[in-house]
C-alpha cells in the first residue's frame, strides 16, 4: 500500500485500538493511522466542517470500522461513506465482534469491501489483525475524487 494512504481507525475500545495498531505495525505497515474512539468525531473528520467530504478530495483513505460504537452505529457511518461522492471509493474494512449473518449481509449490501469478525481468542485476534495488515500492504487504494 502506497505510503500516502491514511488508515482511519474507528474503534471505541482503546485497548482494541492499541492492539490493532500494534499488530498492523508488526505486519510491516507503516502508514499513518488516525484513531477515533467514537463515531461522531470520525464523521466530522471524514466529512469536514461543511459535511460534503470535499475536505478529503485527493486523499487516499482506508477505513477500519467497528460496528458497535457508543454514539452512532458503524452501519450508519458505512452507509454515509458509501453514499458520499468523494468517499465512496475508499475501501471500508469492517472489523467487529458480530458474526450475525444478517448483519454481515447488510454491510456488504451497503458497500463494505471486507468484513472481518474479531476473534474472541487473543491469539486468533492478533493473527487476524496481522493478516489484515499484510492485506493492507498489498492492496491499492484510489484517491478520493
Amino acid at each position: 500500500m502506497p505510503e500516502h494512504v491514511t488508515i482511519i481507525m474507528i474503534e471505541d475500545d482503546p485497548g482494541h485500538a492499541r492492539l490493532i495498531e500494534k499488530n498492523i505495525r508488526r505486519a510491516g505497515v507503516l502508514n499513518e493511522i488516525v484513531p477515533f474512539g467514537d463515531g461522531n468525531s470520525a464523521l466530522a473528520y471524514l466529512f469536514g466542517p461543511d459535511g460534503t467530504g470535499a475536505i478529503n478530495a485527493g486523499k487516499a483513505l482506508l477505513v477500519l470500522l467497528d460496528l458497535n460504537l457508543p454514539d452512532t452505529s458503524g452501519v450508519n457511518i458505512l452507509r454515509r461513506i458509501k453514499e458520499n461522492e468523494h468517499l465512496k471509493r475508499s475501501p471500508v474494512v469492517v472489523l467487529t465482534t458480530t458474526d450475525d449473518k444478517v448483519e454481515i449481509q447488510r454491510c456488504y449490501d451497503l458497500g463494505a469491501n471486507v468484513y472481518v469478525t474479531k476473534p474472541v481468542n487473543y491469539e486468533n485476534f492478533s493473527n487476524a489483525v496481522r493478516q489484515l495488515g499484510l492485506f493492507f500492504s498489498v492492496i491499492q487504494v484510489p484517491e478520493a475524487s
Partner: protein, 507 residues
C-alpha cells in the same frame, strides 16, 4: 403490553324473576284449561239433561195424542155396536181399552216428578177415562143383553158426551202445559248451548292469550340465551386475545433475555480480548525486560542470575493464573453465547425417526463406549415431528452425560426407551452410572452447575442447554436417580411441534 384485570368481562346480571313468571303463566294456563274443562263437562251434562227432558215432553205429548185417538176408537166401536148390534164392531174394543189403560198409566208415570197441577190433571184424566170406559162398557153390556133401548137411553143422557168434552178439555190443557214446558226446556237447552259455546270461546281466547304469552317468554328466553351465548363468545375472544397478548409478552420477555445474554456475552468479550492481548504483550515485554537486565548485568559485571530466575518464576506463576482465568472466562462466555444462539435459532419441524437418530448417535459414541466398556441398548421408540437438530443435541448431550458419569467398577449399561401418551412421547435415557445426589436434582439443570466429584471435563452447560431446548420444543425434562446406582432422564415431547411466528432474530 399488559391487560389489567379490570378488563375482565363483567358477568351479565341474572334475572331471577323469569322462572317465577314462567311458572305463573304455565300455572294460569293449566288452571284456565281445567276450569274450562270442568265448566264444559257441566254444561254438556246440562245440555244432555235438557235434551232428555225435551224428548220426554215430546213423548208425553205423543202419548196424550194417542190417548185421544184410543178413546175415539173405543167410542167408535161402541157406537157401531150400539147401532148395528153387530159384534164385529167390538173386535178391537177390548185391545183399544187396554191400550188406553196402558197409555194413561204412562201419562201418570211420566208426570210423577212434574208439577202439582200437571199431576192433578193427569189423575183427573185417569179418573175421567175410567168413568168413560165404565160408561162405554155399561152401554155395551146393556146392548149385548138385548136392552138396546136402555143402552141408547144411557147414551142419550149426554153423560158420555160431557165426559168426552171434559176429557178433551183436560187433554188440551195438558197439551198447552206440555207446549209451555217444551218451550221452556228448549230455551233452557239453548241457553246451555250458548253458555257452552261462550265458555269454549273464552277458553279458546284464554289459550291463545297464554300461548302468546308463552311465546313471548320463550322468545325472550331465546333472546337472553343468545345474548348469554354472545357474551360467552365475546369473553372467549377476550380470553383468547389476552392469552395471545400474554404469549406475546412472554415471547418478548424471552427475546429480551436472549438478546440480553447475547449482548452480555458480546460485551464481555471485548475487555477479555484486551486482557488477553495485553497479557500477551506483557509476556513479550517480560522477555524483552529480562533480556535487557541480562545485558545490563553483563555490562555491570554481575554474574549472579539467581534473583532473575526467581523473579521470572513469579512472573510465570502470575501469568499462569491470569491465562487460566482468561481461558475459563472465555469458555463461559462462549457457553452463554451458544445458549443464546440456540435460543434464537428457529425450529424446522420434520418427521424424525427417533430410533434411527439415537442409533446414529450411539454409533458416533462407539469409541467412548468401548473405552469405558459400556453397552448402549436402543429400543424401538416412536417417531415424532420436531426439530431434528435440537433433538440430536438433546440426546447427544444426555447419552454423552450417561457415558461420562458411568461408574468405573461396574459394566456400564445405557438404555434408551419410550413411553407413549396421547399427544406426547416420553423418552427415557437410563444409565447405571454414579447417580445424582437428591440435593442436586434441580441444580444440575442450571447453568454452570455440576453434581458429584468434579473429576470430568465440562462447564455445567449440557443439561441447562438440554432443558432449554426441550422447553422450546414444547416439552419438559425430569430425572429420577438413585445415588450410586444410576439415573433416568425423562424427556417428554409433543408428537407434533407447532412453530409459532418467531421474533428471535437479533443482530
Amino acid at each position: 403490553m399488559t391487560v389489567s384485570t379490570e378488563d375482565a368481562v363483567a358477568p351479565t346480571p341474572s334475572r331471577p324473576r323469569r322462572p317465577l313468571n314462567q311458572a305463573v303463566v304455565l300455572g294460569a294456563g293449566f288452571g284456565i284449561l281445567i276450569l274450562i274443562s270442568v265448566i264444559s263437562v257441566f254444561l254438556v251434562n246440562r245440555a244432555r239433561e235438557d235434551a232428555a227432558q225435551v224428548a220426554q215432553t215430546l213423548l208425553l205429548e205423543n202419548t196424550i195424542s194417542n190417548l185421544q185417538a184410543f178413546l175415539l176408537r173405543g167410542e167408535t166401536s161402541q157406537r157401531g155396536f150400539l147401532l148395528t148390534g153387530d159384534s164385529r164392531y167390538l173386535a178391537d174394543f177390548d185391545t183399544t181399552m187396554a191400550d188406553l189403560d196402558r197409555t194413561i198409566q204412562q201419562v201418570q208415570s211420566s208426570t210423577v216428578g212434574a208439577s202439582e197441577r200437571r199431576r192433578a190433571l193427569a189423575d183427573r184424566l185417569a179418573v175421567l177415562l175410567q168413568t168413560k170406559q165404565d160408561e162405554l162398557r155399561h152401554t155395551i153390556s146393556l146392548r149385548r143383553s138385548g136392552d138396546t133401548m136402555g143402552a141408547l137411553a144411557v147414551v142419550r143422557t149426554d153423560r158420555g158426551e160431557e165426559l168426552s168434552r171434559e176429557i178433551g178439555s183436560i187433554i188440551n190443557q195438558m197439551h198447552v202445559g206440555e207446549q209451555n214446558q217444551l218451550g221452556e226446556r228448549i230455551s233452557a237447552s239453548r241457553s246451555s248451548n250458548l253458555w257452552l259455546m261462550l265458555v269454549n270461546l273464552a277458553g279458546a281466547v284464554a289459550i291463545v292469550g297464554i300461548a302468546a304469552l308463552a311465546l313471548r317468554i320463550t322468545r325472550r328466553n331465546t333472546e337472553d340465551l343468545r345474548t348469554a351465548h354472545h357474551n360467552v363468545e365475546e369473553a372467549n375472544l377476550v380470553l383468547e386475545q389476552r392469552v395471545a397478548e400474554r404469549t406475546a409478552d412472554l415471547q418478548e420477555a424471552n427475546n429480551e433475555i436472549q438478546s440480553f445474554a447475547y449482548i452480555v456475552s458480546h460485551d464481555l468479550r471485548s475487555p477479555l480480548v484486551n486482557i488477553m492481548g495485553f497479557t500477551s504483550e506483557l509476556e513479550a515485554l517480560r522477555t524483552d525486560l529480562f533480556d535487557r537486565i541480562a545485558t545490563l548485568r553483563a555490562q555491570a559485571g554481575d554474574t549472579n542470575g539467581a534473583a532473575d530466575i526467581a523473579l521470572d518464576k513469579d512472573f510465570e506463576e502470575a501469568f499462569g493464573f491470569i491465562k487460566k482465568s482468561i481461558t475459563k472466562m472465555d469458555r463461559l462466555i462462549n457457553a452463554i453465547l451458544d445458549l443464546s444462539r440456540q435460543g434464537r435459532k428457529e425450529f424446522a419441524p420434520t418427521s424424525v425417526s427417533m430410533t434411527e437418530m439415537v442409533e446414529t448417535i450411539a454409533a458416533t459414541m462407539a469409541h467412548q463406549l468401548m473405552e469405558r466398556n459400556a453397552r448402549l441398548t436402543v429400543h424401538p421408540i416412536p417417531a415424532i415431528v420436531s426439530d431434528r437438530m435440537a433433538l440430536e443435541q438433546i440426546f447427544t448431550n444426555l447419552i454423552d452425560n450417561a457415558v461420562k458419569y458411568l461408574r468405573p467398577d461396574v459394566q456400564g449399561l445405557i438404555e434408551v426407551s419410550a413411553r407413549e401418551t396421547p399427544g406426547y412421547v416420553t423418552y427415557l435415557v437410563r444409565d447405571n452410572g454414579r447417580g445424582i445426589d437428591p440435593n442436586d436434582r434441580v441444580r444440575v439443570f442450571e447453568l454452570f452447575r455440576r453434581s458429584g466429584p468434579q473429576d470430568r471435563p465440562g462447564e455445567g452447560i449440557g443439561l441447562a442447554h438440554v432443558r432449554a431446548l426441550v422447553r422450546r420444543l414444547g416439552g419438559g425434562i425430569t430425572l429420577e436417580s438413585e445415588l450410586g446406582l444410576g439415573t433416568v432422564f425423562k424427556v417428554t415431547l409433543p408428537r407434533r411441534l407447532v412453530v409459532e411466528g418467531n421474533g428471535g432474530k437479533h443482530a
